[in-house]
Every structure is written in structure tokens, then in C-alpha cells.
């Protein structure tokens, strides 16, 4: 498992439209993460409440299955995304076609769902970041 992180300061400037600076930050961080990746991933999962749909419909194109994960709270999803409901009252918004039943991405996804670990990396990352940056 690779773990990579980068940090970007988002200036709360009136020159940015609301939400636009955050979106640009997400794009920049994603670009950094992808550039740093040493392997081609089988599956990409992002948190829907942190990553707007437009990041992968307007800004970045990925050639691997990519979905945004939404929890129990219903979130609006992009017009080009497709919705998949999964156990645990979670939703996946697929940016492209969902992976086929025989694909490695589907196998990985099913395994994570079965272990209820789909959101775990995000929770761990949040705890780690909080520990690292709590004082700033």
C-alpha cells in the first residue's frame, strides 16, 4: 500500500468564487497524488463530500474505475455519474462505467464492502492528518 500526501494552502480570497478555490485545491492534490503513484491503481475511491463530481468530469480524466463514496446522507451526484447502492446505506457514484463482475476492481470493491472497510482508509487518514496538523 502506498501512502502519499501533499498539502496546499487555500487562500480565502474574495477573488475566488465560493467552492472554486476548494475545487482547484482538490484538483491540485489529486494531480500530485497521481503523479506520485508508483503503480497503476485498479480502483480509485474518493469521498463525495470532499471531492466534487466536476473534478473528474471537467478537470481530470482517469482510465481506471473511479467512484465517489457517499455515506447515509444523500448527496447530489453529477449528471454523468451513475449511482450504485451498496450495503451499509452507502452510495457509490461512478464517474465512468462501473467495473464488470469479473474485474479486479469489482473483486477489490466487494472485498472491502464485505469487510466494511470501504470508508476505513479515509477515517484513518483523517485521524492521521488531525494528529499531524492539530496544532496548526
Amino acid at each position: 500500500m502506498d501512502f502519499s500526501f501533499a498539502r496546499i494552502d487555500v487562500h480565502a480570497s474574495f477573488l475566488w468564487r465560493p467552492g472554486e478555490s476548494r475545487r482547484q485545491a482538490v484538483v491540485a492534490l489529486s494531480r500530485t497524488l497521481f503523479t506520485a503513484a508508483t503503480h497503476v491503481p485498479h480502483l480509485l475511491i474518493a469521498l463525495a463530500e470532499e471531492v466534487p463530481a466536476t473534478v473528474f468530469t471537467d478537470d481530470l480524466a482517469v482510465a481506471v474505475p473511479l467512484c465517489r463514496l457517499a455515506g447515509q446522507t444523500a448527496l447530489a451526484y453529477g449528471s454523468t455519474e451513475s449511482l450504485e447502492e451498496i450495503p451499509g446505506a452507502q452510495h457509490l457514484f461512478w464517474a465512468g462505467p462501473p467495473p464488470g463482475p469479473e474485474s479486479s476492481a469489482r473483486g477489490l470493491l466487494d472485498a472491502l464492502v464485505a469487510r466494511q472497510g470501504l470508508a476505513e482508509p479515509f477515517e484513518r487518514a483523517a485521524l492521521g492528518l488531525q494528529e499531524a496538523y492539530a496544532s496548526t
Binding site: 497521481f34 508508483t38 471537467d58 478537470d59 481530470l60 480524466a61 482510465a63
Partner: protein, 711 residues
């Protein structure tokens, strides 16, 4: 490891710098939009111009007259041109206005201007059409393209197309091209408040790269909004009136606007109102006025609008008097196309006049109100005014809508039946009323027609609420009817979703009614439009209608599309005659008094004051700063008192703006009183403000009483 992802768009590059790279000369010239504005991103190269195009070759020859510096002009693909600083541009390639500037002095053309003129793409490649290098959301109709070309060629224009022909789109398209050509960098758009959001949406659609800045909110907000660097600043007439002050540094006066557009320019038809003076006081290089009814009541309306259109920057104010000069200028400045001439594909409009008897209890209320009203008028004797007659007319018209005593309404019963049929057939409707209250007007009508899930639209609603009502009506077909006030909903809206229009009461002004009907009968309407106009039998509505009809025929023969409202359309004698009364002349006043000029009226007010011991000083008749008389006297305890008097000898009640103007000029450092002398009284809103701010109102009745008291 980046082949599994990529940026959809390359990182955005700054528009104000780029790496210098000297490319090898290209074998053929390529063509691009000249300006390095955001529009460049939307522009796409097209084939080089036809080498047989003589005008193009002439310009190219001049551009490549090797004598000066090399200038690179745009994002790639570009034309690299070697341009002579001394090269003269051919006059035939210029617009009339630029040609005029050049003839005034060649020194006025900078190198940038020359480049622009020489290298800018042909107009046809910017206009919507098959050869367009700009993206447009839709095609324009041929007559609209003609309108855009006319606007581009003229600094001054009155666009007076029939309602619904797309004046807004033509203006936006022309403004967009002017902005792309850098001929306009700051445009000011003055519109009725209810239309600001509609203009914003249309600009978003037709000129998405133009930055807009609506002026609204608190004064601190407006201060920075005026300073914002936007292509288009959008302001309502009301806000312009507030923010345009005598201070030459007040926000609207601070800059010279490249273009000022007045939408619904009939708002400045009266040259004496504040907003009219202010619109004409805007410093500007181009003036466009837009209205479907440039002449509502009298030729002076047209004169006032043309004074705005025709005024040159820095020149003294124009004053056009009715006559051949005005008409000649009008012919040169106005572009007007009629719907029947250019929109032959528009579905027909059918107007049905419905005359109904009042319902039984409604008739009782009406008869009682009319009888009591006439008794009341007669009891007023010499103090009776036109205003009192108009008040009675209003009261009776309101009962014709809904009887407040019984809630009976012949009109609404008929509307209800028709709506049920329309609902079954899947149609929707608009209903206009001149009243907005919850007894006789929009609110009451919406309540009575509750089964059709009506939405309402009135001037009293906030801008956001009005937008929401329109959006909801357009998107939710469960709302079968939209009830609008004629004043707020009658202009500017696009409501093709409805193909039936009801006029529940009559404004007595065909132009205003037609404007309202054209919310539905306009481009985009797929069905024939049916308009129902209601009149109640044997009532005041029918009597006024008869008088107007006899005059309308004569009027139609003189001027096309002109209309009058009731107060100016009917003479005082005719108004009194509606109730079998004759206009009285107050004792001590001759017929000449009744027709007295403004100066006579000032003298009369001065005499009233002098008779009560005031020393009266008259201000100059023009440039009086809003005060006609300043009266002073020392009271019983030795204090000097001062009264500022504004005299308004108008045929109609004066509005709240006059009270506001009077309050505005009162000195704050000394105790003063203010009097507004208005022969025909003031509006309810004006009286409310006057009472609140301690301004006394002298109407004819009060003046007569004061004169009697003075003996």
C-alpha cells in the same frame, strides 16, 4: 506513470503574458479573433479570407507596408503583421463613427486602433451564422441580424421594435461584439428593477464571457459595485436615481461610459422627472434606447427619449420641440419593425371582448357606491377636483372586480369556468390586474382561483421571490395560472408557457395592455394566443370604454401604436361628465386661473403666504434646486422661521419623488418647514412620506381655504 490519467484541460495560462517564441513565417496568413480577452478561448480559426476580396487585400496591403515595427497580435493562430505607424487606414473599411473620428483628426488613431481596424475579422464572421467564429447559443433571425448590424454601426439609436421581437437579444449580441472588439469596455445598462435578473440570464446565455455587475443592496455594497471592473454594469432606474447625485463624483457620473443602454426607455418620456434628467446626464460615448412604445401619450414623450439618444458627450443638453426637426431626427435614429411584418410564423393572437352583467349583490354594492359617490362629489361643490372623480372611478372599477361585501364577482366566475376547460385541454393562462391588494386585486384573485394553484407576481415582492414565481410557473405545469400586476408583470417577462391571457380590469391604455399580452404572444410561442378583456355592463367601465373607442379611431389614423391613459386621455369635462356633473370653477377663480401656468401658480402660493405675514423670496424659475419660494417671518417670541415651498401646477397628483426631492434640499442646520403646493394633490405614497417627514401638502382645497381665510 501518467498514462492512466491526464488533465482534461491544460493548465490555464495567464492572458497578460506569454513566452516569446519567434515562429517561422507561415506560408499563408491565418485568421483569429484579435483581442486577448477570455473570448479568445471561445474563438476558433476559420479559413483565410477570400483572396479575391478586394477590401481585404487593400487592408492587407496597408498592413504589410513595411516601414515600422513588428507587432504580434493575438493568441495563436495569429497574423503576424508588419505595420507602418504612418500607414493610413482606408476610410471605406471603417464604421461611420470611426470614420467620423478619423476625419476629425488623423492624430486620434493610435497604433492599436490601426491594428484593430486593419486586422479585425469581418463583421459577418462575428455574427451568428454559418461563418461565425464566435459561439452563439442560437441563430438570430434575419431582421435581428439587421438590428445588430445597425446597432454596431451607430453610436445613437432608438430600437423600437414591437414587443416580443427580441430587442434584448439584439442589444446583447451587439454589445458582445463591441466588447470583443474592445470598442466597449464599460457599458451601463439601465433597466426596470423587475428585469435585472432576466437581463442577467440573457447575458449569461448570449455573451457568457462578459462580466456583469448588478448594482443593488445597501449603499456600502453599491459603492464597491459601481467601482467593479465589469463589462456590463446593470442598474435599475430607481437605483440610478438614488446614486446619481449633484456630486460629479457620485458613482454613475465618475466615468465616461462607452455605452449606455436604456431598456423600456419610456421611463424617461417625461423630461421633467428626475430619472430622465439623470439618464441624460450620464457621460457616455454611445446611447441606445429600447422601447416598443416610444410614444405613449404625446409627442413630447418621443422628444425626451430622443434627447437622450442624440446627445453627444460633453455637449449641452438637447431640447427637442415637437415639429419637423424632431420628426426628421426621429426618422434617422429609430429602427422599428412590426411583428406582423417580420414574424409571419408567429401564431395568431385573438382578442375577445367579454361584457358581463354584474351579479345581483355585486350590482347592489355598485349602485350604492355610485349613488353615494355622486352625492359626495356634488357635496364638494367648488372644491371638487379631477382627483376626486378618479377616486370614485377607481372605487367603482374595484367593485366590478370583486364586491367586498358579498365576495361576488361576475368576472371571476367567468374566468373560473374558462380555466376549467383550459385545464382539461392542458393549457395555462396569465391573468393581469392593475390592483395588487387582497380585497380587489392580485392577492384576492389568486385566493378566489385557488383550485388552479395560482402563483402571483407583483411589484411588492422581492426580486428573489419574483424570480422564484416565474421559475416555478415555467417548470411546474401544476400551476395553471399566473396572476400578475399589470405594472410589474406587464413588461419584459417571457411567458410563452401560457397561451391564454385574461385582463380582469382595463388600464385604458392599449399599449400597456398589449405589452402585457406580449409576455405570452412572442417568439417561442407555439400556440395561438387568446386574450380575454372584461367589461361589466352598465358600469363606469363601459362608459369610459365608449368614450375611448370614439377617440381611438381618430388617434390611430394619426400615429401608429400610440395610446393614452385615462387621466390624460379624457378631458376634465369628460371625466366629470361620466357622472353627469360639470366641472366647477371655484369662486374667485376664473377659467384662466384653472389654466394658469406654473409661474402663475407660484405667484398664487406667494400671495397666500404674504397674506399671512410671510416675506417671500422667489427662486429663479429654472435651476431652482427644487424650491420655488422661500418664505420667512419672525414669530411672537422673536425666532425667525423659514418655509421652503415647492409649487407643482400639474394636472395629475404628484409622486413621492417630489416630496423626496424637497426633503433632500432642506438645510439641516436651521429649523425649517417645507410645503409642497400641488394643485392636483399628491399620491398616497407621497402623502405618507410627507406626513412622516413633516412636509405640509397644499392641494387646491387647502389653497382655497387659505385664500378664503386671508379674505
Amino acid at each position: 506513470m501518467s498514462d492512466w490519467w491526464r488533465d482534461r484541460k491544460p493548465p490555464r495560462r495567464s492572458t497578460w503574458w506569454h513566452r516569446r517564441r519567434r515562429a517561422a513565417p507561415e506560408p499563408a496568413l491565418r485568421w483569429a479573433v484579435l483581442q486577448a480577452t477570455p473570448s479568445v478561448a471561445r474563438a476558433r480559426p476559420v479559413a483565410p479570407p477570400d483572396p479575391t476580396d478586394v477590401a481585404w487585400l487593400m487592408r492587407l496591403q496597408q498592413a504589410t507596408d513595411v516601414a515600422g515595427s513588428t507587432v504580434r497580435v493575438a493568441a495563436r493562430p495569429v497574423t503576424e503583421a508588419v505595420v507602418s505607424r504612418r500607414a493610413a487606414t482606408t476610410r471605406t473599411s471603417l464604421t461611420p463613427d470611426v470614420a467620423a473620428r478619423e476625419s476629425a483628426g488623423d492624430a486620434g488613431l493610435s497604433l492599436a486602433d490601426r491594428l484593430r481596424l486593419v486586422l479585425q475579422p469581418p463583421l459577418e464572421s462575428l455574427l451568428p451564422g454559418p461563418a461565425a467564429i464566435l459561439e452563439w447559443p442560437a441563430e438570430l433571425l434575419p431582421y435581428q441580424l439587421d438590428g445588430v448590424r445597425a446597432l454596431l454601426e451607430r453610436d445613437r439609436m432608438l430600437l423600437a421594435d414591437d414587443m416580443g421581437l427580441g430587442k434584448t437579444v439584439q442589444a446583447i449580441a451587439a454589445m458582445r461584439i463591441l466588447c470583443l472588439r474592445r470598442q466597449v469596455t464599460h457599458a451601463l445598462l439601465v433597466v426596470p428593477a423587475s428585469l435585472i435578473n432576466q437581463w442577467r440570464r440573457e447575458i449569461d446565455k448570449w455573451a457568457p464571457e462578459l462580466r456583469q455587475m448588478p448594482i443593488r443592496g445597501a449603499s456600502t455594497e453599491r459603492a464597491w459595485q459601481w467601482r467593479a471592473e465589469a463589462h456590463v454594469t446593470i442598474v435599475s432606474y430607481e437605483t440610478l436615481r438614488t446614486d446619481f447625485t449633484d456630486n460629479p463624483d457620485s458613482p454613475p457620473r465618475r466615468r465616461v461610459w462607452d455605452l449606455v443602454i436604456l431598456d423600456e426607455a419610456q421611463k424617461i418620456k417625461n423630461r421633467d422627472v428626475e430619472v430622465s434628467r439623470e439618464a441624460k446626464g450620464l457621460r457616455r460615448r454611445r446611447s441606445w434606447a429600447m422601447t416598443g412604445t416610444p410614444l405613449e401619450n404625446k409627442v413630447e414623450d418621443l422628444a425626451s427619449i430622443l434627447e437622450f439618444v442624440d446627445q453627444s458627450e460633453g455637449a449641452p443638453p438637447l431640447h427637442y420641440a415637437p415639429g419637423p426637426v424632431l420628426l426628421a431626427r426621429h426618422a434617422q435614429l429609430q429602427l422599428r419593425r412590426r411583428k406582423s411584418d417580420v414574424l409571419t410564423q408567429l401564431p395568431p393572437k385573438q382578442v375577445i371582448q367579454i361584457t358581463l352583467p354584474l351579479l345581483a349583490r355585486q350590482q347592489e354594492s355598485y349602485t350604492r357606491a355610485e349613488r353615494e359617490g355622486i352625492v359626495e362629489l356634488k357635496a364638494r361643490g367648488e372644491t371638487i377636483l379631477v382627483q376626486h372623480v378618479l377616486e370614485l372611478i377607481t372605487r367603482l372599477k374595484q367593485i366590478c372586480n370583486i364586491d367586498p361585501a358579498s365576495d361576488e364577482s361576475a368576472k371571476l366566475a367567468d374566468v373560473r369556468e374558462r380555466l376549467r376547460v383550459l385545464d382539461e385541454e392542458g393549457h395555462r393562462a396569465l391573468l393581469f390586474s392593475q390592483y395588487t391588494d387582497d380585497t380587489f386585486g392580485v392577492a384576492a384573485i389568486a385566493r378566489e382561483l385557488g383550485e388552479f394553484r395560482p402563483l402571483t407576481f407583483t411589484g411588492g415582492m422581492s426580486g428573489a421571490a419574483r424570480d422564484e414565481a416565474i421559475r416555478e410557473f415555467k417548470e411546474n405545469p401544476l400551476h395553471k395560472i399566473l396572476v400578475l400586476s399589470l405594472k410589474a408583470g406587464g413588461v419584459g417577462l417571457n411567458l410563452q408557457e401560457a397561451s391564454y391571457v385574461f385582463h380582469i380590469d382595463r388600464w385604458w391604455n392599449p399599449a400597456v395592455e398589449r405589452q402585457a399580452e406580449d409576455r405570452s404572444h412572442r417568439m417561442g410561442q407555439l400556440f395561438p394566443v387568446t386574450v380575454f378583456k372584461y367589461t361589466c355592463e352598465g358600469t363606469i367601465e363601459e362608459r369610459i370604454q365608449a368614450i375611448l373607442a370614439s377617440k381611438q379611431q381618430l388617434f390611430d389614423e394619426i400615429i401608429d401604436d400610440v395610446s393614452l391613459d385615462v387621466a390624460s386621455r379624457l378631458t376634465s369635462d369628460e371625466l366629470f361628465g361620466l357622472f353627469g356633473l360639470t366641472r366647477p370653477v371655484p369662486a374667485g377663480h376664473t377659467e384662466a386661473t384653472a389654466r394658469s401656468t406654473g409661474i402663475d401658480f407660484e405667484d398664487r402660493c406667494a400671495r397666500v403666504l404674504e397674506a399671512r405675514g410671510w416675506r417671500v423670496q422667489r427662486t429663479p424659475h429654472s435651476h431652482d434646486g427644487g424650491v420655488d419660494l422661500i418664505a420667512s417671518r419672525v414669530d411672537e417670541v422673536g425666532l425667525e422661521q423659514t418655509v421652503y415651498v415647492q409649487c407643482k401646477d400639474h394636472a395629475r397628483p404628484v409622486g413621492v419623488e417630489v416630496v423626496r426631492e424637497l426633503i433632500g434640499i432642506l438645510p439641516v442646520t436651521q429649523p425649517t418647514q417645507a410645503v409642497l403646493a400641488a394643485r392636483s394633490g399628491v399620491t398616497a405614497e407621497a402623502r405618507l412620506l410627507a406626513d412622516r417627514r413633516g412636509v405640509k401638502i397644499w392641494d387646491e382645497e387647502a389653497l382655497v381655504a387659505l385664500e378664503r381665510a386671508a379674505g
